[in-house]
């Protein structure tokens, strides 16, 4: 118990020191109004934008023994990216999180969709728990839309390949079997897309309820991109405060690494949804194209899953770290300053 109190005291001292030494760096990332509003009792973690020089120096304070193993867990692989890697990941994320049409155009009602940033979504929420629930709803909807985007692109690629194959018009059972496989793949994609559109509507309703908004202005479409880069936790001082902080401090670096691995596994941004196959020389090539397409689909969905999980973890970590933080600072701690 004595050691626990000692760590608490130590944590408070470190946080105060960190506020004094790195506060300017944090403020430099924030818009003026956010800086004015930012007067948290403890300094929240900040986004590490990689190229930025505002990242605070590593604190020299030794972590508590109880968390040492956990901290060591994050030291195996570097979380730093080169500029080229960072740019590649940014491009990949941008393509994956493009917003496609979320409705099919059917039905009588005219559907109006409005972009909704994370800050706007949280602007009317004061309670910390409600804010956290709204953030999770926001990222869940964002993931569903990214999922839809992936499915639409994958379907387009499959349809295009099927069109090329059909032109060959080979009248053999093997070829007809291949075309049947393509038709099954396309109809499955259609079903998934229709299902996702329903899920997106449900997600929008859930988000509006949790952000205390109405549909009068239209259906919300999350416009903020989830965080995918390195993240400075300031975990040394935080881990002794709660189990949740300790857990997330272990998990976030792992999820960042998983995000890197997943993102880079997608290959070049130009070919995220298109297999690098230029010609069909044999019937087998048609199957290989479809298999490659499916692998790409699975990998892209995995990337979206990892980023959603990472951003939920960051939200929980920030909420536990600074429960009374202002909404704008809270959002800044989650995704940095969005380029308007």
């Amino acid at each position: 118990m004595t050691s626990f109190r000692f760590f608490l005291s130590l944590a408070a001292a470190i946080l105060l020191g960190a506020l004094l030494t790195t506060g300017s760096g944090l403020n430099a990332q924030q818009p003026p109004q956010a800086a004015d509003a930012a007067a948290p009792s403890v300094l929240p973690p900040i986004i590490d934008d990689g190229a930025s020089s505002t990242r605070p120096e590593p604190e020299e304070t030794a972590p508590p023994e109880s968390s040492k193993t956990a901290l060591d867990a994050g030291s195996g692989d570097s979380l730093e990216l080169t500029q080229e890697q960072e740019e590649q990941l940014r491009q990949i994320t941008k393509v994956i999180y493009e917003v496609p049409p979320t409705h099919s155009g059917g039905g009588d009602a005219e559907i109006v969709e409005i972009p909704l940033s994370l800050f706007e979504a949280l602007s009317q929420i004061q309670n910390s728990a409600d804010r956290l629930a709204a953030v999770e709803s926001y990222w869940s909807l964002r993931s569903s839309i990214a999922h839809l985007n992936i499915e639409i692109h994958i379907r387009e690629s499959a349809e295009k390949a099927a069109g090329v194959l059909e032109k060959a018009a080979i009248d053999t059972p093997d070829f007809q079997a291949l075309m049947a496989v393509y038709r099954v793949y396309l109809s499955s994609a259609d079903a998934r897309i229709a299902q996702l559109r329903v899920e997106i509507r449900e997600g929008q309703i859930d988000l509006m309820r949790k952000t205390q908004r109405s549909t009068e202005r239209g259906w919300p479409i999350p416009s903020s991109t989830p965080w995918y880069g390195n993240y400075t936790l300031r975990s040394e001082a935080a881990q002794s405060r709660s189990f949740e902080l300790a857990s997330e401090a272990i998990l976030i670096p792992e999820k960042i690494r998983a995000g890197y691995a997943s993102g880079f596994s997608l290959g070049s941004p130009e070919n995220l949804f298109t297999p690098e196959i230029s010609t069909f020389e044999r019937i087998d090539d048609g199957y290989l194209y479809l298999k490659t397409l499916e692998n790409k689909r699975q990998a892209a969905l995995g990337y979206v899953r990892v980023l959603e999980s990472l951003n939920d973890s960051i939200a929980r970590y920030v909420a536990a770290y600074s429960p009374s933080i202002d909404s704008r600072v809270f959002v800044t701690c989650l995704i940095g300053n969005e380029e308007e």
Partner: protein
């Protein structure tokens, strides 16, 4: 002389009878065997070492401790191996009917007691069996399985010097290689463990000092979830290795085509992505268990300790002993549910086991078959991975069910290795109940155990990852030709 002749026939008959009576008595003794003596004098049994000792016939709710080994006090861990009450040598690996009959045939007739030789179990001193009327309920499936274990438990055997002789060999017991597969996956090599962080932790470490059944249940479930996550992470790396093997296969056959290159590269990237996700899932499970341990740990011990599980989950059939326990204690509907569900889920698990073996066989066949397309081979690798994943998840579910059943049936007074042995095989302990219960912990004496060996026949398919023959030199046509596609696959 005439009178002699006259009576010689009578004398001959009397002489013949005098000679033949002992022979008939000996034959009768063999023929009547146990039932005969049991019916004549059920209160006396012959001890092979100490002569004759009185034995009160136990009832269902009154187990009798071994004559030469007093029961330990309540809560005291069972004796270690070599000192524990162990089942007869045949009990673990032989058909159950043999084990069930043994107490009668061995103990009541000294002349049929086998000699005790080093490395074999000493004959047990068995009290008389309870009357058949007491065991009136017809044995259900799990009840039937538990019968030999029940007798071994309520009638503990004397200490043995070493247990290995009584443990069945793998090929005899029917412990299939897919069980070894699960064990392999939950016990990764150092090369895999080196990528993880945490303290090696046994299930007993997690449950140490935890008395509330609900807490035990949640902690045990979290432990198996962590074990599952570890196995899945290990599996993801193995699957990535399978993909690399496929790539090697196609590059050895010649320059891969553009389509083959594309699909192999995408499969490799997907495997890397899945490994990354599996590692995150493992760390999440670590955090979940660490948090539960911190909350349930002993007073003052609130250390947050990520763990690496060292105990393998149970993959053998499980004896719920529901009928026996329910005679001694009122059990919840949940316990009744699990008593039915656990054997049923064991069957499910064995089907997943078979599915994984079939998928492995298919993958190996396609791998070695000439002319297999990349799409088909990769699909087979996918199916193999999925089959193994389903098997692992089913094993975790099975063990969670067992944990839930134990929480419903085992009291707080059972702790330590005794508690662990109700869920998994404890290394170094007899596969059959090896702990005695004092009267105060009588319910524990009827605690469930997980250790009935599977009667399944071993399968010919190796549980190991296919070892491809690298000694065979490639033929002239299969020499790799450097090309752009080959470069991409490096």
């Amino acid at each position: 002389m005439a009178s002699v002749k006259k009576y010689s026939g009578v004398f001959g008959a009397i002489f013949f009878l005098l000679i033949s009576i002992p022979v008939l008595r000996a034959d009768d003794a063999v023929l009547f065997d146990d039932a005969f003596f049991d019916a004549e004098d059920p209160l006396v049994v012959a001890d092979p070492q100490e002569g004759t000792v009185p034995a009160a016939p136990p009832t269902a709710d009154q187990p009798v401790p071994a004559a030469d080994q007093p029961a330990p006090p309540a809560g005291q861990p069972a004796p270690a191996e070599g000192q524990s009450a162990a089942p007869p040598a045949s009990a673990a690996g032989q058909p159950q009917a043999v084990s069930r009959e043994e107490p009668f045939s061995v103990d009541l007739e000294p002349r049929v007691i086998p000699e005790v030789v080093p490395g074999q179990t000493e004959p047990a001193v068995e009290p008389a069996a309870p009357p058949a009327a007491v065991d009136a309920p017809a044995p259900s499936r799990e009840n039937a399985e538990s019968l030999p274990a029940d007798s071994a438990e309520s009638e503990p055997a004397p200490p043995v010097e070493s247990a290995p002789a009584e443990l069945p060999k793998e090929e005899e017991s029917g412990v299939g290689e897919e069980i070894e597969l699960v064990k392999t996956l939950v016990s990764p090599p150092d090369s895999v463990l080196g990528q993880l962080h945490g303290e090696p932790t046994a299930l007993s470490d997690v449950l140490e000092g935890v008395t509330r059944p609900a807490d035990r249940k949640s902690l045990t479930e979290a432990y198996w979830k962590l074990s599952e996550a570890l196995a899945l992470y290990h599996l993801s790396l193995i699957s990535a290795g399978d993909i690399e093997d496929c790539i090697t296969r196609f590059t050895q056959q010649g320059t891969p085509s553009e389509s083959q290159t594309a699909v192999l590269v995408s499969a490799r990237r997907l495997a890397a992505q899945r490994s990354a996700e599996a590692k995150v899932a493992f760390v999440e499970a670590q955090c979940r268990l660490a948090e539960l341990r911190s909350r349930n740990g002993a007073a003052g011990d609130r250390t947050f300790r990520p763990a690496i599980p060292t105990d393998a989950p149970n993959t053998l059939s499980y004896q719920t002993r529901f009928d026996r326990i329910s005679r001694e204690k009122r059990l919840s509907p949940q316990a009744a549910y699990y008593a039915e569900a656990i054997p049923a889920y064991y069957e499910t698990m064995t089907l997943y086991d078979k599915s994984a073996a079939d998928a492995l066989e298919a993958f190996r066949t396609l791998y070695f078959a000439g002319g297999t397309s990349a799409e088909i081979l990769l699909s087979a690798a996918d199916k193999l991975n999925s089959a193994k994943e389903r098997l692992i998840r089913s094993v975790c579910t099975y063990n969670k069910m067992i944990a839930a059943y134990v929480a419903e049936t085992v009291g707080a007074d059972v702790r330590g290795q005794q508690l662990i042995s109700t869920m998994i095989r404890v290394p170094g302990r007899s596969p059959l109940p090896a702990w005695d219960a004092a009267p105060s912990t009588r319910i524990a004496s009827a605690a469930p155990i997980p250790t009935q060996y599977s009667p399944r026949r071993p399968r010919p398919v190796s549980a190991e990852i296919p070892q491809f023959d690298s000694s065979a030199p490639p033929n002239a046509e299969s020499v790799v030709q450097p090309s752009q596609n080959a470069e991409m696959l490096r």
